[in-house]
């Protein structure tokens, strides 16, 4: 397969994408979606570890009422930075940019994403945004919470303008990734791959990209208005100058609620892949899962008001938003039922990715169900802005997306790096993270219903025991994550070589590409003849998968 002459990549027949070009420069100006995916993967995991340390700091401070290890202002900066790092630097780019960049073109049977240069630009915008965020942490820090509610964020000190501009820039990185994926899915599918033969991860990433493209610009204008509020005092959000702070909340949540679906949808896509592959079974209700991804993407734009039931929003707007919130709960419920039904009569092997998928299934179910308390107007009044909300969104974000992200990392690790990892250690770390997570956050449900407010540096003595238990849970999570980082690092250096399809999966990146794949993904463009996840029914002989040497 001749590489076209204007192509800058050195043509390497037989070598994988690591060997295609050597040296730092080849990484810095790479246009290969796989290398960009790998670079994102390392940055995103680093952001997760940094955010995790911040969380550890927050929990250690809350070990006992009053000052434990830091002052009130430092605590406020810690939880704000924990929110910003985890949201903007880890979980939004997490699965779409890191795993998605690597896997999407492979699963579509394409050579690369539609706009490779924009893909690299998206990565460098992410790097610039990260540096600005870190700089603003040093140059005065931000203590407004990741939600930047005015008028506090418009009147407090600290480098709020710098942090809002860094979030503004990170938004563009997200837009470019979304834009790239939508065009790639529309225009560059392999011959034979109709919309209903695409893997469900692609459906999920497609739905996520719609949200990224349609919602992130509004975050851009919101942060721009906030920056102008502080710089010129235009008074749109500051009541002292005639503005309306609740209007800021509308602007902010118009982006931020769809953003929480940017976070969970890719996780759902990964879990669909894992459950189908490790039960060797065709996914149950393929079309209903695919359409529920799109349904979530669309309805997610209608429900942001449920963050503002008690914020001074009118009674009638509360009614509308509460009703629509229940509408968006249905597709998520459908997905969970379909995953459980997929396990029926499967051939289930509990390897590490499947353990992560199971913990996703259980924890996301709890996260989703507890959302009902917050969507119902009557109970939300009591539970809003308490630890119940903290527990709810950690169950959905960490119990959901992070478990799916780790499941995806372990699932595609052999494909990305061509090496296996230590299965026993991986299982131990997965169980540790699951146990530690529940110890940390289930106690916060109880704290929340008993009335412990959110973002509290100092709390009443009656909540002390629960806070102690919750802090111990974080230590268990920390242990699990440390073990994971260690054995993954070891696997990079000396892991045993991986075969092209170690899990017997049915998607193109396993059946037609080597581990790690060649520079142009496939030796010749694959042709898709069968529906997705087409595992053989009993009695049917299984078709041999054509895998290069």
């Amino acid at each position: 397969m001749s590489a076209s002459n204007s192509d800058t990549h050195a043509h390497a027949h037989g070598g994988n994408y690591f060997e295609a070009a050597r040296g730092l420069k080849s990484w810095l100006i790479t246009l290969d979606h796989k290398r960009i995916g790998v670079m994102y993967l390392f940055w995103v995991i680093a952001a997760f570890l940094f955010g995790g340390l911040l969380a550890l700091g927050v929990r250690l401070e809350l070990w006992a009422p009053g000052e434990t290890i830091m002052s009130a202002d430092t605590y406020n900066r810690f939880f704000t930075l924990h929110g910003l790092v985890m949201v903007f630097l880890f979980i939004i780019p997490g699965i779409p940019a890191a795993l998605g960049n690597f896997v999407l073109p492979l699963q579509l049977g394409a050579k690369d994403v539609a706009f490779p240069r924009l893909n690299l630009l998206s990565f460098y915008i992410y790097v610039v945004g990260t540096c600005m965020a870190l700089y603003s942490t040093i140059a005065g820090g931000v203590d407004t919470g990741w939600t930047f509610y005015t008028p506090y964020s418009a009147t407090t000190g600290g480098s709020v303008v710098m942090m809002t501009l860094s979030a503004f820039i990170l938004g563009f990185s997200s837009i470019l990734t979304g834009l790239n994926f939508i065009v790639t899915v529309h225009k560059m599918r392999a011959p034979g791959m109709s919309w209903y033969r695409m893997p469900l991860l692609i459906w999920a990433l497609y739905a996520t990209s719609i949200i990224q493209v349609m919602a992130t610009p509004v975050l851009g204008i919101t942060l721009l208005l906030l920056a102008m509020e502080r710089a010129l005092g235009i008074g749109i959000f500051d009541p002292a100058l005639g503005g309306d702070p609740v209007l800021f909340q509308h602007f902010f949540w118009f982006y931020s609620h769809p953003a929480v679906y940017i976070m969970i949808l890719p996780g759902m896509g990964v879990v669909s892949e894992l459950i189908a592959t490790f039960s060797r079974k065709r996914i149950f209700g393929y079309r209903s899962i695919a359409f529920s991804s799109l349904a979530i993407a669309i309805i997610s734009f209608l429900v942001w008001g449920h963050h503002m039931f008690v914020s001074g929003q009118s009674v009638y707007a509360g009614m509308i938003f509460s009703f629509l919130t229940f509408l968006v709960a249905i597709p998520s419920a459908i997905k969970v039922f379909n995953w459980t039904a997929t396990l029926y009569q499967g051939s289930i092997s509990m390897q590490t990715p499947m353990i992560w998928a199971f913990s996703f299934l259980i924890l996301f179910t709890i996260g989703g169900l507890t959302g009902l308390f917050l969507g119902t107007l009557g109970t939300d009044v009591h539970l809003h802005d308490t630890y119940f909300v903290v527990a709810h969104f950690h169950y959905v974000m960490m119990g959901g997306t992070v478990m799916a992200f780790f499941g995806g990392v372990h699932y595609w690790w052999p494909k990305i790096f061509g090496r296996m990892y230590n299965e026993a250690l991986a299982k131990i770390s997965a169980v540790l993270v699951f146990v530690g997570f529940n110890v940390t956050f289930f106690t916060q449900f109880v704290l929340g219903t008993r009335g412990m407010p959110r973002r509290y540096y100092n709390y009443l003595p009656e909540f002390e025991t629960l806070h102690k238990v919750s802090t111990m849970g974080v230590l268990i999570i920390g242990l699990g994550v440390t073990i994971m980082v260690l054995y993954l690092a070891k696997s990079l250096l000396s892991g045993e070589k991986a075969v092209a399809n170690p899990w017997g999966a049915k998607t193109l990146e396993w059946t037609h590409a080597a581990s790690p794949p060649v520079l142009h993904n496939f030796d010749e463009t694959p042709v898709v003849e069968e529906p997705p996840y087409h595992y053989p029914a009993p009695g049917e002989e299984s078709r041999p998968t054509k895998v290069p040497a």
Binding site: M214, G305, S314
Partner: protein, 201 residues
């Protein structure tokens, strides 16, 4: 969805609109600009905004369909643009739904008053009760007294002048003129009644 074709042919089968179409659109846009300006001279009350937006939308359609060749382009690009407009509409509808329905639920009759008409009615009543002194309700006030406004009892306590730190007038100074019954007083509002510009820092 356009399955990419295999023939790899280089011919672009794109339809190129005649130059006459562009000239026509150009003339149309100029004419509509004149119309917009002319219509804005005539005071049609609330319809002014409707007409202005209507004319602007027609101009936008002209630019979009012909200059941007949406009419002869793949249907996909038009749907993408349409989706964008749908989400803009959602943003408008729900935000304004809240801003405009921030009236209050009247305790006695349990029905709901929109803030807009109630504010105007209240201002006239309070002005009448105060003997013509101009009265302006503050910004998006939430609680407004029900229909009858008792003449403001002489303030029992000294009108608490809760001057706020920083820029003046942030604190709604609770006016002594609070009508006696259960409803909240019309808030002084952040900006002082005399409408002076915010104090220069």
């Amino acid at each position: 969805m356009s399955q990419h074709d295999h023939d790899g042919s280089h011919a672009h089968s794109h339809f190129v609109p005649p130059a006459k179409a562009y000239w026509g659109v150009f003339g149309g846009l100029l004419f509509l600009t004149v119309v917009t300006v002319a219509v804005s001279r005539v005071d049609l009350g609330p319809f002014n905004m409707l007409v202005a937006m209507g004319v602007a939308t027609v101009k936008a359609l002209l630019v979009g369909l012909i200059f941007m060749q949406l009419r002869w382009d793949e249907k996909l690009n038009g749907t993408v643009f349409g989706f964008g407009l749908i989400f803009v509409a959602l943003f408008f509808i729900f935000t304004l739904a809240d801003i405009f329905s921030r009236g209050y639920v009247d305790p006695v009759t349990d029905n709901h008053y929109l803030a807009r008409d109630q504010v105007r009615a209240l201002e006239k009543d309070v002005e009448k009760a105060r003997g013509g002194v101009k009265y302006e309700v503050g910004r998006p006030s939430d609680e407004l007294p029900p229909n009858e406004v008792a003449p403001p009892a002489p303030p029992p306590a000294p009108a608490t002048e809760g001057a706020a730190p920083g820029s003046e007038g942030a604190a709604p100074a609770p006016e002594g003129a609070a009508p006696a019954d259960g409803a909240a007083p019309a808030p002084e509002g952040a900006a002082p009644a005399d409408g002076a510009a915010p104090a220069q820092p």
